[in-house]
Structures are given as C-alpha cells and as structure tokens.
C-alpha cells in the first residue's frame, strides 16, 4: 500500500527549489473533491497501485475517482466517480487493480494534514505535509479539515464521457520544447512517432522512458527552471517525463512539454506501459484543457 495525502500542490515556491507536488492526476483529485461538495483543491487520498481498507468512524460522504482498483463498500461494488454516503462502521476496501496507477478518495470536508508552505500535500523527500510527511500506515486515523459542506448531495457523478481519455497506451499531446532544435532530425521524428515504455524507474518525481535512443547535439546548457510535464533528455538519450514532485531545475535539454489536459493520462501509467507523444501547438493544448475543465466546472453547479 502506498497511500498519501495530496491536494493541488504547493504553488509559488519553485524559486526556493520546492516542486509543485500534489496529486499526480489533478483532474481525478479535483473531480473527487467536487463530487462531495469540497473546494476542488481540498486534501484527499492518493492511493498508488493498490488501495487501503478504510473504516468510517463517523458518517461521511466520499467519492473514489482515478484508477479502478475495484472499490467496495462492505463487500459490494462501489461506483466510481460518484458521491457515496458511508455510515459509521462502513468499510471502504479495494479488491485489486483493474486499470490505472492511482485512485483518489475524497471525503466531504477534506482531510486534515500537516500543512507546509500553503499545502497539505505529502512531499516525501523532505518529510513534510500529509501525515507527518509519510505514506499512510495501518491504524492511522484521519480527521476532517472542515465540517462537511452543506447541503450533502449523494449520488452526484461524473460520466465517463466527461473524464480524461484514459487509455492503456495513451497518446499524450505535447508541445515542442525550448531545446527541440538540439535533437538530430531522425530523433525529433522518433520522439513524436515511436512508442515509449515507462521504465521501472518511475515515481512521483518522474518517469524514465525507454525506446529509441535520442541523439541530442551536444551543447552545454546552464541550469534553468522546469515544469511538470517537461520531457528532458539526458546524454544517454532516454527521455525523462517530469511529474508532480519533479526537480525544479536542471540542465538537460527539454525537447517537449506534455499538455495539462493529458497529464492525468500519464499519471495513470505504470512501468511497462507504453505511451506516444503527439505534437500540438500551445493554443490547441490550452483549448483541450478548457474543454476538460468544463466538466469540473459543471460539477460546481
């Protein structure tokens, strides 16, 4: 079990070397919160690979979104992406992973976690945020950050059609990066044409990708600031896709940046799965994000 408290991250501290952090799949976390009436950035659980068994010590409204780990309520299948009422003593459990890498559990009121620099997101490298900066352990008791918002609406749901286009082998929209011009022309073609496999070296900081070896014209770059979704290419030619807890600075060429609308698809990948990059323009990517966002805004009404 690898479950941490996450929210939408810790903005504004990149210049001090602190990454944004927060949920890997920001759409799923936002949706889970909105389905239970929370502000979209409230703290919730991010469960990687498998889910915990949770017992309600009080009645509460919850929603499970993101990956499908076979959520059950007292042994019976629980619908995903739906606000569900739990009574005291109810057991929310997971039978096993069906697809995806990370499932999110939001509770009306939001979870209380250690706050550090304006966020309750667990940041393991420095042991801050969430539950004492660590993953959850058996017998941890979670409390609410605030009383459950009124009115309590059970059964609010987000249909499949309005969710990101999660797929086993997704195509990620990506915008050419500042140093795309340093790629040899064959490598530039390969970047946007060949499949990339997520290696075992994949965590909340980023995914090392395996595939064609990319050739970058040697140029020493002085270190610069990075963003989630950046695709950087170290000298060995195997790209790295930066995720939520990414290093804030680096000197490897950045050849592409995955669009916000498709970061949730990347967040749901596991080692061994494949992805492709599809080159898009900035405006097109921003338009796709607006379309996806509209689904979240619809939940606020």
């Amino acid at each position: 079990m690898f479950t941490t408290i996450q929210d939408l991250g810790r903005p504004g501290r990149r210049a001090a070397g602190v990454p944004p952090g927060g949920a890997m799949d920001r759409f799923a976390l936002s949706a889970a919160n909105l389905l239970v009436g929370n502000p979209e950035g409230a703290a919730a659980l991010e469960c990687a690979l498998s889910g915990p068994t949770l017992v309600a010590v009080r009645t509460c409204l919850v929603a499970v979104t993101g990956a499908d780990f076979g959520a059950t309520l007292n042994g019976r299948a629980l619908p995903g992406w739906t606000g569900v009422f739990l009574s005291e003593g109810d057991r929310l459990a997971f039978t096993g992973r069906r697809w995806g890498a990370r499932t999110y559990v939001a509770v009306a009121g939001g979870l209380a976690g250690d706050r550090w620099l304006g966020s309750a997101a667990t940041y393991l490298l420095v042991g801050r945020g969430g539950v004492h900066g660590r993953p959850l352990q058996a017998r941890d008791v979670l409390s609410l950050a605030a009383p459950a918002p009124r009115p309590v609406v059970v059964g609010r749901c987000l249909p499949d059609l309005l969710r990101p286009a999660y797929a086993a082998e997704p195509e990620l929209s990506a915008i050419g990066g500042p140093h795309a011009g340093l790629l040899a022309s064959a490598s530039r073609r390969a970047l946007f044409r060949e499949p990339w496999q997520v290696s075992r070296d994949a965590d909340r900081m980023g995914y090392r990708l395996e595939g064609e070896v990319l050739t970058v014209k040697s140029q020493e770059l002085v270190s610069f600031g990075l963003a989630m979704g950046c695709v950087q290419v170290p000298p060995a030619g195997q790209p790295i896709l930066l995720m939520a807890d990414h290093q804030t600075a680096g000197g490897y060429p950045v050849v592409a940046g995955v669009a916000r609308c498709d970061l949730p698809l990347a967040a749901q990948l596991l080692p061994g799965q494949r992805l492709r990059f599809r080159e898009v323009g900035v405006e097109e990517a921003q338009g796709e994000w607006r379309r996806l966002r509209a689904a979240l805004d619809g939940l606020k009404r």
């Binding site: 903005p11 504004g12 501290r13 990149r14 210049a15 001090a16 070397g17 602190v18 550090w116 620099l117 490298l125 420095v126 801050r128 990506a174 915008i175 050419g176 990066g177 500042p178 140029q219 020493e220 770059l221 002085v222 270190s223 610069f224 600031g225 990075l226 963003a227 989630m228 979704g229 950046c230 290093q247 804030t248 600075a249 680096g250 950045v254 940046g257 995955v258 669009a259 916000r260 609308c261 900035v282 405006e283 990517a285 921003q286 994000w289």
Partner: protein
Amino acid sequence: MPARRSIRIAPLGDAALLVELGQRVDTALNTRALALAAALRRRRDVREAVAGYASVAVHYDPEQVSFRGLATAVERLVEARPPPAGHGRLHRIPVVYDGPDLEATAAQLGLRVEEVIRLHTQPTYRCFMIGFTPGWAYLGPLPEPLRLPRRRVPRTHVPPGSVAIAGAQTGVYPLPTPGGWHLIGRTPVRMFLPQSDPPSLLWTGDRVRFFAVSSAAAAR
C-alpha cells in the same frame, strides 16, 4: 541595447514558458535574469517566475494571457529594464575539509590537499540559482584549477551538509539525496530551512564565502 536578438522564448508545456538570455555562467546575465523574474512576478497573469543562471521560467495563467501575448511582454521588459546593481546577502559558511573525496580530488587535480582548501575558500561565490531540490544553491564560479567533471558513478546517498564541487560549480547538499559531485568537506550550517518561508538559507543573487574550521569547532 544588449542583444535583444539573442533572447529565446519557448513553451514549457501549455502553461509555462522559458526565456533564455544566454548560455553562460555570467554574473551580468544572472542579474538580468533576476531583474526580469522580479518584473514578471508583478504581473497578474504570471503565477511564478524562476530565475536560472541565464534564464527565467515563467508559469502563467493561460486564461489571462496567451503565450504570444506574454512573449511580447517579455521582449519589451528585456529591452526596457536596466539590471539593478543588487549584491544580495553575504553568507560566511564554516567548512570542515575532511570529505571522502578530498584526497582523490586533490590527486586528480594534481594539487596538495591544502591547496584545494586554499583555492576553495578564496573566492566570494555567487548564488546563481536555487533549485534541483529544496534549498540547493548553485554557487560559482569555481576557480579554474579546481574544475573536474562529475563522478562517473554518482553516490546513492550523500549526507546533508556535504560541501561539494563539480565543473565550474560548488554547493552544499541540503538534503540526504543521491549525488554525483565530489565531496570535499562538510558544514554544520543548514541550507534547507523547513520552518522558514522560503525554506532556503540562500537566495539567488546572494554571495557565499567558505572558511575552514576544525572538526571540533564545527561541533560547537
């Protein structure tokens, strides 16, 4: 006007862009980057502006400004804004020069250990950038005779407080992380300050001088 032609602006995904003013470790370029970042932070449509050695990574709100619109504004700012002559704070950092790589580094450089220490404590370094991990400060430039490529095999664990060199840079590991730099000493001074905001002792534009102390003095 200095080289407007040389600036490059490119997207970092669909909500950030990178402004590159050059590709050199150079105080004047770094000062311009700092000034540009400060000017950009004053804009409502900019969420974060992070100065690098010779660049600014700008995280913006696409609902308020387009990539093109912000790029045009950046070009204007680069032309209009004269770099301020700020010096940053000066930090004096005690170092016990007994790092696990000290002797090997001296041998590789063809220097005696005392010369390595003398050379490392001589300059006033500039903090060109904070990043990589929280509190990591890229300091430089390192005196020419101390420049070495990184270790071929990075260490999987470097203790916090380790004072290290690589290429034209020097720095102090703020956290227990893997690392490929040459460890020449250690300091009891904490670089990562989790109780402070920002949680970093050093700030871009600050200056640093190292001075040698005995192991006993560092323990006090």
